[in-house]
Structure formats: C-alpha cells, structure tokens
Amino acid sequence: MTDEEAATPVVQKTPLASRHDSLGARMIDFAGWLMPVQYSSILEEHRAVRERVGLFDLSHMGELSVEGVTAGDALAAAVVSNPPDLAVGRAHYSMICAPDGGILDDLIIYRLAPDRFMVVANAGNAVVVSDALAERLTGSRAVLDDQSLATGLVAVQGPRSVDVLGPHTDVDLASLRYYGVAEGRVAGIPVLVGRTGYTGEDGFEVFVAKERTAEVWDTLLAAVDSFDGLPVGLGARDTLRLEAGMPLYGNELDRTTTPYDAGLGRTVKLGKPGGFVGRAALEKVNAEGPKRRLVGLVVEGRGIARHGYSVYAGQRKTGVVTSGTQSPTLGVPIAMAYVAPADGEPDTRLDIEIRDARVPARVVPLPFYRRSS
C-alpha cells in the first residue's frame, strides 16, 4: 500500500447509496459510512416523523448473531443485562462495558430463538463490540457471526408506521408489541421486524439481506409517500432522539461513562447468575452513587447549548453539555448535560456558557417529549 492509499479513509456505502443519490440527499461521512444527513430539511423531516411517518436507512448499524445452546449464558457474561430473561420474540436495551465499568457501546439484544440472539451495535462501535464479544465468548460454545456488512436496515417511524408497513408484510403487527421482534416477509422478501426505534414514536426496524434492501426501501418509500411522509436523514434522527431523551454514543455515553452516570442503571443486572465483565466496578458505582448525573436542560435565555459547552451552578462549574439543539417540536433550545448530582434536581437553575455569555437554563425531567398515544 502506498502512502497515498493509506491516507485515504475507506468510506463504506450502504445498499441504498444510489437511492439517496437520486433523492438528492446531502451525504456525510458518519462512523466510516457515507450516510444521508438530510434529504429536504431537518425540520420538515423531523415533523414528518412526529406527525405522520418517516423512512430511515440505518444499514450502517452492526448486526452480530450469537448462536448455540449456551448463547444466552455466554452473552450474559459479556453484557450488563441478562439476555436469558428474554422470551423468544422479545428484545431489550443493554450495554457492553469494559472491566472498569466504562461503556463500550449501547446495544439492543433480540432473542430470535431459544439458542439464537441478535446484538445490534452502533456503526462506530461495531468492530469494538464484535472483538469484545469474540473474546468474551471464547470457550463458551456460543458462535459469534458478524453479519454487519451482509445486513441492511430500514426503519419506519411515526404514528402512521402500522399503516405504512401493515399492507406489505405478513407479520401480525397488532400482536407485535414494543420491543417485540418477528421473522416474516416485507414485499415478499425475508426480513426480521422489530418494534424498536430511536425517535420516541411508534415504529419498526426491518433487517434484511443487503442484496434485497433496496427492494424493501422502494416498497416502503412509496408507502411512506402515500401517507405524506418523508425519507429522513441522520440530522433529524439526532433531533428526534434528543427530544425523546435517548442517549447517543459519543455524546452521552463513552468509555469514561458508566450506565449509572447516564441514568441507565436499570439495564445493569447486578443480581444475575454468574459474573459479567465490569461487574465489580459497577457494583462499586452503584453502592457509592455516580459522581455525576445526566439531566435535561431547557435554555431560558437566548442561545443554543451545544456539545462541550460548560454548565455552571452560580460561579461553580458543575458540568458539561453532551447534546443540544433547538427543539423542533417544543420550539425552545434543549440540551442534555452531565452535572454534579446535587445540581440535577428538576427546576434547578443553572447557567450554560454560550460563547462569552452565561445563559440561564432550567433542569427538566427527561424525556423532553413523550408521544401522546
């Protein structure tokens, strides 16, 4: 390899790259993938999902299959949750931590059969998670198969999701509850349908072989369009998840953060049988209480809080903003931030340093937005 080749980062394309191109999407490099950040307007795409329906290409996400008679127990030793608790056809939110309790990634784990699980990881961490699982499953007889590059993922999100997907699938959506998963077909193509998402709305995530992802996309895009919905890029995905109070790896979660810091201690099953990586460190954090707390903030002065801005309680620096934007739904600037636990009670008055000014903000309970039905 020449120096020139070495300096050129490899940017992967999803099976839908040509679709994004013909839709006129603005593309960015995200976690090593060429992804659509917006098609028309982040605000319009955001509103489409809140009020009607939107279609997302999430083919960059990592899909890891873990299979074998000991798969559940082997996974339990590798992540903070207890996958054997899952009934077949159910999923839960989980995390994989380092021995010191720091978060390597947040995950959704689906149980597809008694001895078969699918672990969905963030694109930017898929290799880290795959490597960690490979190491942690060694000697367990569970077989890890990284399907990330062979799998496409299309999400339908919004109040009209059932209307969009229903006519094109043999999966009984009425009996598929939130965090349920079923094998079936969409447009005649074999898929996995999970009732999961990252927007705060009802919706589905459709996993499909990469060779057939475009067919699923085309069918669902036409259906979305018929309900006045839109294709939605990563820009609106970020504002939707932020309003829904959902953490983003790299912002709210990272190697220096524990699940307890992020207010996600409920995902950690300290009492599960057997040990798991990070257990001793996490027991200590749980016993002593986390040193900081993830809170929601509404900016009450003029300005938008952004990732990295400092947060003050009076003259004392108490923390830092992890994510912030102008909330398209609420019409006010919102942010998530880590602050000292004592400064994290709802209605606490704090200040955010926005450029040269200290701008008043108020702690509010998360999420900022909760769907009505």
Partner: protein, 127 residues
C-alpha cells in the same frame, strides 16, 4: 446558481449592499442552503463598532454553529430584529428580509476587497 449582480460578496459567503456610506450585510443563498434550517441568529447591538474580518455574530442551524465575519469595519447603525423571532427568514429570503446588519463604513478601502457577483459565482462553482 447565479447571485444578484447589484451586491458584493465575501469569501465567507456574505453579501454586502452598498448605499452611500452604509453597507447592509447578510449571508448568501448558498451559505443558507449549506447551513440548512436556520434556527438562531445572534447579532450585535446597534452602536457597536465592528472590525473588518472579525466575528460579529453567529448563525445556527439545527446541526451547526457558524460565525459571521464583518466584511467591512464600522459602526452598526441597525440590526434586523425580525430575525430574533423569525430566523427562518435567512433561508427563505437571504437577500431581502433575511438581512442582518447595516454598518456605517469607516474605511472605504475595505470595499475594494469584496468580490463582484461573477467572481463569487466562480468561487461557489469551484466549491
């Protein structure tokens, strides 16, 4: 894309309308499109003196924060208060209702550094 020919431009994608010793300043359609939906504009108060090429304000879209740089130096004689409640005017009418500040030009020589429409078009076309 072609831009209004009666305006002058900067390499930072601002436009300048010169009227006697006053210059009205905004950002170009290209800049507004690149930023996406603009949700916040921070401008200096009237009476403040701006230095050429120094940051005088901020435009924020949903995703990004972008500085505004003074194309010419001088005292701010007016700011567009409508952008406080209607920042989206910058997207919908960047050369009209989306104007930002009016400056009393101190150094007429600053104006010589500005691009004409043809040069700015070429700059945008070159990416």
């Amino acid at each position: 894309m072609s831009v209004p020919t009666d305006l002058r431009y900067t390499r930072d994608h601002e436009w300048v309308r010169i009227d006697g010793d006053e210059a009205t300043v905004g950002i170009t359609q290209y800049a507004a499109d690149q930023l996406g939906d603009i949700v916040f504009v921070e401008l200096p108060d009237a009476g403040r003196t701006l230095e050429t090429a120094k940051s005088f304000g901020v435009v924020e879209s949903v995703k990004a924060v972008s500085d505004l740089f003074a194309p010419v130096g001088g005292e701010v004689v007016a700011t567009n208060d409508a952008l406080s409640s209607g920042p989206e005017l910058v997207n919908s009418d960047p050369y009209g209702e989306g104007w930002m500040v009016r400056i009393r030009v101190e150094e007429a020589a600053d104006l010589n550094d500005l691009l004409d429409a043809e040069a700015y078009d070429a700059l945008v076309a070159a990416g």
